[in-house]
C-alpha cells in the first residue's frame, strides 16, 4: 500500500480528532459490553461444564431379584448408546458404603437387624447424552425393563441447568451480534463523515489523476485505526474491571474469586476492533461514488 495513504490517514485522524475520539469511545463501550456479555456467558458455561460427568441415574431393583436377572439387566443397559458405564451395587455393598460414609455416627445403625436398602444399578451417561430429552427418553425405556422398581435422577436440576445454559448462550450471542452490528455502523458513519468533510480535497485529487485506490485507502486505514483504538480501550477497561474492581470486591464476595478470566481471548479485542472498523469503512466507501 502506498505510504502516502498512511500519511493522509493520519493527517485526517489528527485534524478530525474530536469526531474520531467520540467514535473510539463509542466503539470501546460497545466492545466492553460484548466483553462483559462474553465474560458472563463464559463463566456460567464453565461452571456447568463439569456437571454432566457427575450426573448419574440410579435404578432400584425389585427385592429378591436373582443374580441372573441382574446380569440380564446390566447387559441390556450396556447395549444402549447413551450409556457410558454401568455399576451394580448390591444391597450389602450399599450398606457398606453407607457405613463408611457415616462411620462417626454408627449409632444410626443400632437396632437394625435387616438391611433395608434395595439392590441398585448406577448408570453414567456419555457427556453429550446428558440433555433433558435424552434422559427422559432413556428413563422411559429403562422403566419398562422387568425387575426395575424405580428410576431416580435429578430431573428438575437437569432441566434448570439446561435452560440456564441455553438462555445464557442465546442472550450472550444476541448482545454480541447486536453490539457488533452497532460498532460496524459507528465506523461506517464516522468514515462517511470524514469523507464528506474532505470532498473538496478529494475532487482535486481526482482531477490531478488520483486512482480510486489512492482516494479510498486512507479511509480504510482510518476505519482500521479507529477500530483498533476502540479495541484497545475496551481491553484496558476489561483488564481494569477484572484485576482491579473484581479483585477488590472478591474479598467481600468470595464467589467472585472463582471467576475465570480468559485473558488470551480478551487480547483479541484490538483485532476484533480492527476487523469491525475496516468492515464499516468498506461499507462506507463502497456506497460512495468515488
Amino acid at each position: 500500500m502506498a505510504p502516502y495513504a498512511f500519511s493522509l490517514a493520519f493527517q485526517s485522524l489528527v485534524r478530525e480528532k474530536w469526531i474520531n475520539l467520540l467514535s473510539v469511545f463509542t466503539i470501546a463501550s460497545g466492545l466492553l459490553i460484548i466483553s462483559i456479555a462474553f465474560f458472563a456467558a463464559y463463566n456460567i458455561d464453565a461452571a456447568t461444564r463439569k456437571l454432566p460427568e457427575k450426573f448419574a441415574m440410579i435404578l432400584y431393583l425389585d427385592d429378591a431379584i436373582t443374580r441372573d436377572k441382574v446380569d440380564g439387566i446390566l447387559g441390556t443397559l450396556r447395549k444402549k448408546s447413551a450409556v457410558a458405564q454401568v455399576r451394580y451395587i448390591s444391597k450389602d455393598d450399599a450398606m457398606k458404603e453407607l457405613k463408611a460414609l457415616l462411620k462417626n455416627a454408627n449409632y444410626v445403625f443400632e437396632g437394625l437387624d435387616e438391611n433395608p436398602l434395595p439392590d441398585s444399578v448406577e448408570v453414567r451417561l456419555k457427556r453429550d447424552a446428558v440433555t433433558p430429552e435424552q434422559v427422559r427418553k432413556l428413563t422411559e425405556e429403562i422403566a419398562g425393563i422387568k425387575g426395575i422398581k424405580e428410576v431416580d435422577y435429578g430431573e428438575k436440576f437437569l432441566d434448570a441447568l439446561h435452560s440456564l445454559k441455553s438462555g445464557v448462550r442465546t442472550v450472550g450471542l444476541a448482545i454480541i451480534v447486536v453490539m457488533a452490528i452497532g460498532i460496524i455502523f459507528v465506523c461506517y458513519s464516522t468514515v462517511k463523515i470524514l469523507f464528506y468533510r474532505r470532498t473538496e480535497e478529494i475532487e482535486t485529487f481526482k482531477l490531478l489523476g488520483a486512482t480510486k485506490f489512492f482516494i479510498r485507502a486512507p479511509f480504510l486505514i482510518e476505519g482500521g485505526v479507529i477500530g483498533v483504538c476502540g479495541g484497545l480501550g475496551s481491553l484496558g477497561s476489561i483488564l481494569i474491571l477484572n484485576y482491579v474492581v473484581i479483585a477488590r470486591l472478591s474479598s467481600a464476595v468470595p464467589l467472585l474469586a472463582t471467576l475465570l478470566f480468559p485473558l488470551n481471548l480478551f487480547l483479541l479485542l484490538p483485532l476484533i476492533g480492527l476487523f469491525l472498523g475496516i468492515t464499516g469503512a468498506m461499507i462506507a466507501i463502497g456506497r460512495l461514488q468515488y
Binding site: 502506498a2 505510504p3 502516502y4 485534524r15 473538496e200 480535497e201 475532487e203 482535486t204 485529487f205 481526482k206 482531477l207 490531478l208 489523476g209 488520483a210 486512482t211 480510486k212 489512492f214
Partner: protein, 220 residues
C-alpha cells in the same frame, strides 16, 4: 496530440459547445480565445474528462475518450497538467504540499518529490513561499502555485485556463517565458485566455470561440 471531431456539449439549459473540430499537434503551443461564456473552460474540461461530450469524438495523448472506462481516467489525467481557472488550491496545505500532491497521487517517493517540487517552485519564483498557505499569498502568487503544480509532473499535455488573469504585465511575461520553456521540452500546450498579448505576433495557432461555436482557427 489533441483532436476534436464534431464535438457538441450541452448543459441542462444551454449548448456550451457546438460542432467543434480542431487539432493540436504534438509539441505545439496553441491558444483558445473568445468572450466570457464562449465555452473555453468547457472545452478544456472535455480534454481532461471532467465533462463528457454529448456528440463527437475526442482523442488526447493517444486516449480515445469515448472509449475510456472510468478506471482509466486517472491514467489519462496523469498525462495532462491543468492550470485551473478557479485554482483549486487546498487551503489547509502549504505551497509545497499543494505542488507535491500532483506527484504523490503518482506514488512518487518523497525524496524525489522534494527535489522536483523545489526545482519547479524556483522556476515560477516561489521557492521562498514553499511553507506559506494559499490564503496568505497574493492572487498572482496563487496563480503561479497552480502553474507549478500543473507542470511539476512533466505532463505530455499542459492545459492552462486564463493563466495570466491575475498577473501584471511583467509577471505575465515571466509566465509566458516559463510556458515557452516547458513547450521547448516537447510538452504540448493549450492555453485559454482573453489576453491578446500572450499570442499576438507569435505565429501560433489561435482557436477562436463565440457562444460555443468555433469561428476561426488562425495564427496569432
Amino acid at each position: 496530440m489533441i483532436s476534436f471531431t464534431n464535438v457538441t456539449k450541452e448543459y441542462e439549459n444551454q449548448t456550451a459547445l457546438r460542432d467543434i473540430t480542431f487539432v493540436v499537434e504534438k509539441g505545439e503551443m496553441a491558444f483558445i480565445t473568445g468572450p466570457s461564456g464562449s465555452g473555453k473552460t468547457t472545452l478544456l474540461k472535455l480534454i481532461y474528462s471532467a465533462e463528457k461530450p454529448d456528440e463527437g469524438t475526442i482523442s488526447v495523448a493517444g486516449f480515445e475518450l469515448d472509449q475510456l472506462k472510468e478506471p482509466s481516467i486517472p491514467m489519462l489525467r496523469r498525462h495532462i497538467g491543468v492550470v485551473f481557472q478557479d485554482f483549486r488550491l487546498l487551503a489547509n496545505r502549504n505551497v509545497f504540499d499543494n505542488v507535491a500532491m500532483a506527484l504523490r497521487i503518482r506514488n512518487m517517493p518523497e525524496r524525489e518529490i522534494k527535489h522536483k517540487v523545489y526545482e519547479t517552485l524556483k522556476a515560477v519564483n516561489l521557492r521562498h513561499k514553499a511553507d506559506s498557505f494559499p490564503r496568505r499569498l497574493s492572487g498572482g502568487e496563487q496563480q503561479r502555485v497552480v502553474i507549478a503544480r500543473a507542470m511539476v509532473a512533466d505532463p505530455t499535455v499542459l492545459l492552462a485556463d486564463e493563466p495570466t488573469g491575475n498577473l501584471d504585465a511583467d509577471t505575465a511575461e515571466g509566465v509566458v517565458r516559463t510556458f515557452k520553456d516547458i513547450n521547448a521540452r516537447g510538452t504540448t500546450m493549450l492555453i485559454a485566455t482573453h489576453n491578446r498579448d500572450l499570442y499576438r505576433n507569435t505565429g501560433r495557432k489561435v482557436i477562436r470561440l463565440e457562444a460555443g461555436t468555433l469561428v476561426s482557427v488562425g495564427q496569432g
